[in-house]
Symmetry: C2
Subunit: 584 residues, 2 copies
């Protein structure tokens, strides 16, 4: 037996027990005739003491220990004279009587401390050492606990976890598939699933009633900071349900996770129609930790000779509390912010409502104090507030104003990582019009159901049709989304026709599902949560990368494994594949 | 709301309640002026009654219902006059007052009954309908419960579930990898993991202490009945452990599963050294539901003029209880059985120990009744028993005798699917000698640790070195296996050298792990269970296929999805790949 206890569990109540611990040398320091060693394992840190006067030979052995050496120590538990209140084992220490080096260590390329001196690239190459750092390991422990709690909740609610295949067929719609050449079927390829969407719908046709799976999904997209080529979904589907049933079950899951993991009792989640989300926040995933909702002031700005506002479809304002004191420089910064290409506004108009009640604006030339007073009233500004205004085409401007709102929220410290505001965004449009390709696309996927009352609009005004689709948003992050699916063959046919599919095309691409619908498909719907993002919110992380054990970099590479890599000619030959790289 | 209750939960205590159910029409039958419909969902079957006299229009509507239609019915719960004791809802029926057809169904291509009339191919093509059959769905429900219970047990024992990547690097050792071309790294490939072996060892280096994962693994092998290109492992690894610790934890898991899932209390598992398993059963995964252990009778058979036995390295017998009455034809059948190319014995010798005490053998010419009497004594045969004897080269003959033993066990009904005999097979040889390639191979993998006391033999007699490796065997099936790993760089180097690797080759293939071992690797070891096989044993299935939702056939095809398939030229171009099929 290598150890009687872990490095995290011994307390003053264990005094005088003889124990054996094993772990890593966090640090060793000499002090007089003693050597103190902090021994670390996953569970904590325990102080070891080697005393020259008691056992000189042992002390000499301990003097050779280096950082990250793996050792086994036997000794007696004593009370520390110099207690450390910051760690649970801080009242005791082990007076060592035996020391075995289980494995020495070379000096690690960076310090294994909460704040490491290693840069990102180095830490990724030596990810197995980075994972030794307590905050990194804590993220993965959190991930384990969230996944476990999710399974407990869903199991309790009669969901069955069913594994769907990873080697499936390629579908041309949607993002790019990763493909896998089949040796046994030369010239043919499997695809890795972007999600088990169609398979979970088939399970509903099979009568599984309530399905879930915590499952790896794959997308061959160019990567961004919060995207990985492989990611994990909490994928769920239910039969004989309406939107309300699904919202209730998964609001329940979210509350359960916050309660069991963070001991936070969340209030019921507001339900915000997509149209309102755009109107009030300029985003379909608004951060509702703070207000600063948009106020439309087009009616108050027109006809005063300011052509920019007069010509704009939309003029929207936000009231920024207590920022009337912003300097010219600060206002200029904000103007630069909204004019960045990623945001793309033409300019920024402000009104300072100074503490003394006076009004100062960048459009004083066109608007009298009385005009501005009306803006103040409509935005409910108070002395000391700053009003920021953008104008232009409605939706585009709303999105720009949304970015400005988030920036102001951040500047004012209103986006507290320890506060959690959850909401449902509902009533998404079913379709999106692509101006370039001159056709409608499904905003979600072609199996999303329209609201029954909007079905007649499919013929007359498809863009106005609302879907039974919903997203769950926490702190401005879309954590999950789903929809009620179409289960009626006729409606499905109509949907494909609106999307510009011929019957033959629909059959070729989604034939297996269309076919299954002929044999008694129940009404059904579902949702998928992005587990990586869900965990990163719980962990207070900005990127999903640090809640993934072995993430890939922005080129899709695992720098630790050095993957992907070239493979043997023999492997290519067996697959009947030839590589033809472009000329450099 | 689509339903107030499921089709499996209403009882006589619910009498007179008005309920709404939804489900599939299992069958409908007319009887007098009434129509009886069995409504089915995942939870059970409930009888609906439509009465001509009460509501003629409704009855007419019900008369149109076909098999597998999806309907919603509202009605009142009544006591059945003709109760059905075979189903939990058999005391009640629903007197229907409202019927809504949610979705009609075409006539399914085979019956959705416990015993279907559909052949294998048809049921695989329409797997979503096959999954509606109760016994098939029950297998997947069992799988869910086993996976859930496994997670509960491991979580309780402080294991962390950590997801390891699916897109990793290709390793040339072992079975063939599935590979995935990387678009972002042209000409390079990811590989799908055959197991997370090296990654879980890295997690031990990271100090995760106890890891598990229920994880998909992939092997591009030619398929057999119980093999799938993608399969699921319960993959586990622990630090600071010896073999005994691992055996205890996972014997505990197995007992926990039998208890929670089947309410069976298993006794402690015997531990059988590999050498004994071969000697007594001719197999490293013996079916110990019955005895019939081998008895070596070489010493009793030599020097009596029977050249076949005299020239054989090994002569082994099994005693088959009560089979002295086997006819010539039956003995001939057995002889044919052992002579089949898959088994490859040259012939079969028998001794009948008749009920009257007389002895009759196929080698009477060479052996006197006194000679045979000695065989009887050594095999402990009783009157009425049959002794079956094979001879030849030791290990080969033992395997043949093992097959014969299993056959006799099956014939005598000793392999009861409802009896479970578990054991550990331990002390596997570390290495296997490949006569053709004239070198040693790792029997498990090159990171498996030798028994410390056998390490000196690595230099002098590598074939005799025993590994700290173990398999868990249930009813003759290897359900899991693992080992204590090497964590010492020097020993690892020696191991590679025994396996014929140069330092450079070892570095090229396993450099990332060798490198990690330099920074304080703890002693560690682990195990992996084959979940598919584990479930199939619990379910009493012969093949793993029926405990997989969407399995592939022997050509690695998913006939329902029609995958793999050709992909678009555009996809190939993006990957810089060209297909060059051989001439037909």
């Amino acid at each position: 037996m290598y150890r009687t206890n872990t490095c995290g569990e011994l307390r003053i109540t264990n005094l005088n027990q003889e124990v054996t611990l094993a772990g890593w040398v966090q640090k060793a320091r000499k002090f007089g005739g003693m050597i103190f060693v902090d021994l670390r394992d996953r569970y904590g840190i325990t102080q070891l003491v080697f005393n020259q006067e008691i056992d000189a030979a042992l002390c000499e052995q301990a003097a050779k220990l280096g950082r990250e050496w793996v050792v086994q120590v036997t000794g007696k538990i004593a009370e520390r004279s110099n207690k450390n209140p910051n760690i649970p084992t801080g009242d005791i220490e082990i007076i060592a009587s035996k020391l075995t080096v289980l494995n020495p260590s070379e000096t690690p390329p960076f310090t294994i401390e909460d704040e490491s001196d290693g840069g990102d690239d180095l830490r990724m190459k030596y990810r197995y050492l980075d994972l030794r750092r307590t905050p990194v390991r804590a993220n993965l422990e959190l991930r384990h606990r969230m996944a476990f709690a999710t399974r407990s909740y869903l199991n309790e609610n009669r969901f069955l976890e069913v594994e769907t295949p990873v080697l499936i067929g390629s579908t041309p719609e949607g993002a790019r598939d990763f493909v896998v050449p089949s040796r046994m079927n030369p010239g043919e390829f499997y695809a890795l699933p972007q999600s088990p969407q169609t398979l979970k719908q088939l399970l509903m046709v099979s009568g599984f009633d309530r399905y879930f799976q915590i499952v790896k999904c794959f997308r061959d997209e160019d990567l961004r900071a919060d995207r990985q080529p492989e990611f994990t979904q909490i994928d769920c589907e239910m039969s004989f349900v309406e939107q309300e049933d699904i919202l209730n079950i998964f609001e329940g899951l979210t509350k359960y996770l916050f309660k069991t993991i963070k001991n936070i009792d969340l209030p019921d989640f507001p339900r915000l129609p997509y149209a309102d989300a755009m109107k009030l926040y300029g985003s379909d995933k608004p951060d509702t930790r703070f207000g600063m909702q948009f106020v439309e002031i087009k009616d108050l700005t027109t006809g005063k000779g300011f052509g920019v506002f007069d010509g704009a479809e939309y003029v929207g304002a936000i009231r920024v509390e207590g920022c009337a004191s912003y300097t010219r420089k600060q206002i200029d910064e904000l103007t630069e912010f909204v004019k960045r290409p990623q945001i793309g506004a033409k300019g920024l108009v402000y009104v300072r409502y100074d503490a003394d009640g006076s009004l100062k604006s960048s459009v004083d030339k066109f608007y009298s104090p009385e005009d501005l007073q009306k803006w103040v009233e409509k935005t409910e500004a108070k002395p000391g507030d700053l009003i920021l205004i953008l104008c232009g085409v409605t939706e585009k401007t709303q999105k720009q104003l949304g970015e400005l709102r988030l920036e102001m929220g951040a500047r004012l410290g209103l986006r507290d990582k320890n506060q959690y505001n959850c909401l449902w965004v509902v009533d998404f449009p079913l379709l999106e019009y692509d101006e370039e390709l001159n056709r409608y696309f499904a905003k979600h996927h072609p199996f999303t159901g329209p609201k029954p009352e909007d079905i007649p609009l499919l013929e007359t005004n498809p863009g106005a049709v609302r879907a039974n689709a919903y997203d769950i948003v926490i702190n401005g992050v879309e954590v999950g989304g789903g929809s009620i699916r179409i289960h009626n063959s006729e409606l499905q046919k109509k949907m494909f026709s609106v999307l510009g599919f011929s019957d033959e095309q629909a059959q070729a691409q989604f034939g297996f599902l269309m076919n299954a619908f002929k044999y008694g498909a129940p009404p059904h719907g579902g949702i998928a949560f992005g587990l990586d993002r869900f965990v990163s919110i719980f962990a207070g992380l900005d990127s999903i990368r640090d809640c993934i054990a072995f993430p890939k970099n922005n080129s899709g590479r695992d720098v630790m494994l050095d993957a992907p890599s070239v493979i043997a000619q023999e492997q290519l030959d067996e697959l009947y594949l030839k590589i033809e790289l472009p000329e450099k």
